[in-house]
């Protein structure tokens, strides 16, 4: 992984000192709430429902065991003994005291971590495919470009007070596992006809109130031009993005208003002026950064192991876990192992300090001391020898980190919701629990196949509900929590925004409604079809008709709504 040199370390240390002084001035009354807000946000600090929330950056989801142990220590010392992994591969602590946050950042800085630009109207933590560097379908490792973008965007003097937040994702494989099409900028590493590596550039995707899919403004951008092109996009946005309305300030609204072609023309005109500036990315820098992401010393004899196939045959529960929680690796004899943060009854993405320490130990033992966080709010140990899978499984099981549900309905994305977040309209964690209780048999989950359930407690869409195969959105109806369900979304290559089913349902009915929707899928599916495939084939109507409880107000509303049309 990337290692700080004295320059990186100095900048992070100076940031801690700067922030410490800002907190001091705020507490002394020298900074108003309004003045302090963007400063604390650019250091990851929100003021939440119960307490401040601190979001710590995990650049492109890459963590060392030492860093994870530091997160565990912070969880114990400054929080209530746990943390929450987010869809942007970061971790959040829900209970720190404002007064302690400078000390927390100082502890993070000691292990080359920070909370820089994890919030605020600036360029946020750049995310990447969690299988970067180990995916069999990879064209080029995106992490080195993420690191290069991280450095370029850190304390960017021109782009720290943008109209709104700005999110960039980079993929390097054929399969988009980073939701790049619903980012402000999505970068796909591609190879052109001459065999050169470059980027396809998408702009203007995003979720929130106005969900939009990103549009390609350049099919092939040479690597040398990566930063100059990003700078041109950001400059056009900084100058012309709307600032009069918070809900229309994201770049997607500008791209939509201008049209992608006109937006691209503006970017290209700006780029023409700076494409040969000092910002040109030279090969020496790419190779300098690439060295930090060199493959670990793999064991050439890993594939010769005979124990793994035997355990697969001999232990059914192990085989089940392997089928769901273990992914292919580009090196034979190695596997990628998901550490499931989806234990039924626990909030999705949550992890205790003891579990963090345990995962750090397991990473040291089985995965070169490295851990990834994933967009789906799990952890991942890459580079596990197949011979080690069996003991690793036992160890994860004893830590309640081996729920064999990756990729199933139970592998939900879920925001913190009303339980923590001051923006939320409705609880999402309690709905996750309700769904876990309803679908508590593994065989049922497996029968439902690959299913992406995404849940947000409000229309800001932190839980990416628009791009779930099934999306659940919490809404406030006269002080009560209701839930709007949408079907057919995806954030992967087959990207789509979900279609709203119909009237929202009361809190107690969410899992029951899901059950009725999934019954339609089970009845109508054809061989090997995922839920999403069936939905795309048969459309919303069969689901809509069956989704609502017979005799319920929602069912009547639906009947009336459609009766008018006929």
């Amino acid at each position: 992984m990337y290692q700080y040199d004295s320059y990186d370390q100095t900048l992070v240390d100076e940031r801690v000192a700067q922030y410490r002084d800002q907190v001091r001035r705020y507490l002394a009354g020298e900074l108003s709430d309004d003045e302090f807000r963007p400063l604390r946000l650019m250091n990851g600090l929100y003021i939440q429902r119960h307490a401040p929330m601190l979001r710590v950056a995990i650049p492109y989801g890459l963590l060392s065991s030492r860093q994870l142990r530091t997160l565990a220590r912070i969880a114990r010392r400054y929080d209530k003994g746990y943390g929450h992994f987010t869809t942007r591969q970061n971790i959040q602590f829900n209970w720190p005291r404002l007064e302690d946050t400078p000390d927390i950042l100082a502890e993070l800085a000691q292990v080359q971590m920070h909370a820089i630009q994890t919030s605020g109207n600036c360029i946020r933590n750049v995310t990447a495919d969690h299988l970067s560097g180990v995916a069999p379908d990879e064209i080029e490792d995106p992490r080195l470009y993420c690191e290069i973008i991280r450095q370029w965007s850190t304390f960017h003097p021109e782009f720290s007070y943008l109209p709104r937040k700005f999110k960039i994702a980079v993929t390097g494989a054929v399969h988009d596992r980073a939701a790049a099409q619903v980012h402000d900028i999505g970068l796909n590493l591609v190879r052109n006809e001459q065999g050169e590596i470059g980027f396809r550039v998408l702009v203007g995707g995003g979720l929130g109130r106005t969900p939009l899919i990103g549009q390609v403004i350049r099919e092939f951008l040479p690597r040398r031009d990566l930063l100059t092109y990003l700078e041109a996009i950001l400059r056009v946005y900084n100058l012309h993005g709307r600032r009069d309305n918070l809900f229309k300030a994201r770049i997607k609204i500008l791209v939509k208003a201008l049209g992608a072609a006109s937006f691209r023309d503006q970017v290209e005109a700006e780029w023409a002026q700076i494409r040969d500036s000092g910002l040109v990315l030279d090969d020496a820098e790419i190779e300098r950064v690439r060295r930090f992401f060199a493959p670990p010393p793999y064991d050439a004899a890993a594939a010769a192991d005979l124990s793994f196939p035997q355990w697969l045959k001999g232990d059914k529960a192990f085989a089940t876990w392997v089928r769901h929680n273990v992914a292919e690796h580009k090196v034979t004899g190695y596997r990628n192992v998901f550490v499931a943060l989806k234990e039924p009854g626990a909030p999705p993405g949550d992890i205790t300090a003891d579990q963090m320490d345990a995962v750090a130990d397991l990473a040291d033992r089985y995965s070169f001391g490295m851990i990834r966080s994933t967009h789906h709010q799990n952890l991942l140990l890459t580079d596990v020898r197949q011979a080690d899978l069996y003991p690793l499984w036992h160890a994860l099981k004893s830590q309640k980190l081996a729920a064999p549900v990756i990729g199933t309905l139970a592998d939900m994305i879920c925001c913190p919701g009303l339980d923590f977040c001051s923006l939320a309209n409705a609880s999402s964690i309690s709905i996750a629990r309700q769904i876990n209780e309803k679908f508590d048999r593994l065989d049922d989950l497996y029968d439902l196949g690959d299913l992406r359930l995404n849940m947000s407690g409000c229309m800001n869409a932190c839980g990416h509900h628009h791009v779930g195969h099934i999306g659940i959105l919490g809404v406030d109806k006269k002080g009560e929590e209701w839930y709007q369900i949408s079907l057919g979304g995806s954030s992967e290559n087959d990207v789509a925004l979900g279609t709203i089913l119909g009237p929202s349902v009361p809190k107690a009915e969410v899992a029951n409604t899901l059950e009725r929707i999934l019954r339609v899928y089970v009845e109508r599916r054809e061989d090997g079809e995922r839920f999403l495939d069936t939905f795309r084939r048969i459309g919303l109507e069969p689901f809509r008709v069956q989704a609502y409880a017979p005799g319920s107000n929602e069912a009547k509303q639906e009947e009336e709504r459609y009766a008018v049309g006929y």
């Binding site: 040199d5 320059y7 100095t10 900048l11 100076e14 940031r15 700067q18 800002q22 900074l31 003045e35 963007p38 400063l39 109207n121 450095q151 370029w152 965007s153 850190t154 304390f155 960017h156 003097p157 021109e158 782009f159 720290s160 007070y161 943008l162 930063l227 400059r235 900084n238 100058l239 600032r243 002026q273 500036s277 000092g278 910002l279 030279d282 820098e285 300098r288």
Partner: protein
Amino acid sequence: MRSVIKNRQIVEDHWQAVADDAALPDGPVIVSLARWQRERTALLARGEPVGVRLPNTANVADLAADLPVLALVALEFPRFADGRAHSQARLLRERYGYRGELRAVGDVLRDQLFFMARNGFDAFELRADRCLEDALEAFGDFSDSYQPAADQPLPLYRRGR
């Protein structure tokens, strides 16, 4: 006479901001872009330094031809969180080669000064309720920077890191 920060020092401000409908006083004046465009010849004929205050919605290219005769350009921060003038500043310095005084006016606060200086501002009218001595410390917030800007044409990695 009020004080401003100029070249990282506190100095008395000899510039006077003049409203569009006010008579021109003696000495250096800062006028709006509209007044500059309307009274360009008369303003230059006074033989005193002229500065122009540019709204943050203006296209700085429109002022490019006038830059050689302007001793000051003021860029506006209506709210400190409105960052458009950061881009305007870099364009004036890096693209249009402006070398005169570039002044930040409006909601100008200490915690944005480091970035403003990197973008090419060399003068700062701090909000009236703020202490200029304290603000001077902000220029030392960071000892280096990763990316190029108006103060440094090369990224860190091309400067022998």
